[in-house]
Amino acid sequence: MDAKRLVPVLQILGGQVVEPAGAAGPRGLGHPAEWARRLELEGADGVLFQELDGPGRPSGPARAGWVREVAGALFIPFALEPGPIGWEDLEAVLAAGADRVFLPGGAAAEALVAAAAARFGRSRVGVAATLRQAGDRWRVAQGPDAMAWMAEMEQLGAGEILLRTGIPGAFPVPVCRGAAQLALALLVEGSGDPAQAAELLLEGADALAFPAREAGLAALKSALGGHGLTLRN
């Protein structure tokens, strides 16, 4: 029996946790290791670091530096979504201790996914993408149907896919049902709303990613437990 995972998201720019909203641009909030450790103590099952694109986006060695500090201080698994990344930088963040890296989905990334899975193992490689609605179907950006894309990512060697819609409160339940038939895991990025989270997890999503400050973890776990979901206690 596996537990559904609750994974708070921390957004990173320039090696710092940031709050991206606001007219003045991203506001620095502190060091990734300190924030992640706090989330661990609150009961998170993992932490996802999303690196924002911008002038403060670090070089490979700088990124590996803060990842190494997180790895040395955090005693639950953590993943990184760095955006576009080359082979050497990918190798560096995995060597620094990231448990999993979500590579950007898309045709250009397919070769990288396959090569990374072969070299580092399926468990360390994920793929991230945004779903767009096209009529009654959901597609990955302007590309293939979501179900066909997930199956293709599994064939390439991805251990998990991270999907979002970019529309608050909207995520297609059929995609969760489809993922439940595959061997790879599905991490859905949502708002942390307990009712939506419960529906997606009950329908087949394996894990929920949500903004770290959106909902208290204890409150979310308590609310989800009431829906009969298996959660780590």
Binding site: D2, A3, A71, A96, S123, E160, A183, A185
Partner: protein, 210 residues
């Protein structure tokens, strides 16, 4: 002093962080000649088996580990390390194991998520003097293959089928879970195992073994 075998392509960052947190002295050893004079030797990883086998053979550890086990040195295999200590693995049949722990490592599934990357409850099967009693608790796993439990298995979890979580033969221990990534419960388990292997917590992480 705990010797951590430095496998090419594998990260020891969190394990080292966990040992620092618990106060155990440790060092990295690429080759057997860099190992500490005494203390447990830890083989940890989560990547593919074949490159790890090749790395162990190039570095000389493949020949050294059976001798260390025969000499009574404590060996601890974590995740991929457990698979390498077993007799063989479906991941790389014929030649993928050191045979220090009996059994064949088999692929998970079909019909389950593979890799199994998540938290599962653990249940104790059998007493072993080097491993503390487990009265229930959740551990983190990241694997696509696992060793089937036997009557000798210390503890088990289930992912589609039961699999061995802690397997012991003498002073050789194989641990499928990442204790260093399993929160306070995993760290406490790791601490008790290292204490039972004769390690004493200190506070001075070392640059090298010698």
């Amino acid at each position: 002093m705990i010797t951590l075998i430095a496998l090419e392509g594998e990260s020891l960052a969190t394990l080292e962080g966990g040992l620092d947190h618990l106060g155990f002295e440790h060092c990295r050893a690429v080759r057997p000649g860099q190992a500490a004079a005494a203390g447990p030797v830890v083989l940890a990883g989560c990547g593919p088996l074949e490159p790890a086998c090749a790395s162990l053979k190039r570095s000389g550890w493949w020949r050294e580990l059976p001798q260390l086990a025969a000499d009574g040195r404590a060996l601890v295999g974590i995740n991929l390390g457990l698979h390498l200590l077993a007799e063989d693995s479906e991941e790389a049949p014929r030649g993928g194991g050191l045979g220090l722990i009996p059994g064949i490592v088999r692929r998970l599934g079909p019909g389950v998520k593979a890799p199994h990357w998540g938290w599962s409850p653990v249940r104790q099967h059998r007493y072993h003097p080097l491993v503390p009693e487990i009265r229930g608790g959740w551990l983190f796993f990241a694997h696509s293959h696992a060793l089937d439990p036997t009557t000798e298995t210390h503890s088990v979890a289930v992912h589609g089928r039961p699999f061995a979580v802690v397997e012991c033969r003498g002073r050789t221990l194989g641990i499928q879970a990442h204790l260093e990534k399993s929160g306070p419960f995993g760290l406490a388990l790791l601490e008790k195992i290292l204490l039972s292997l004769g390690e004493t917590p200190h506070w001075q992480p070392q640059e090298g073994c010698n």
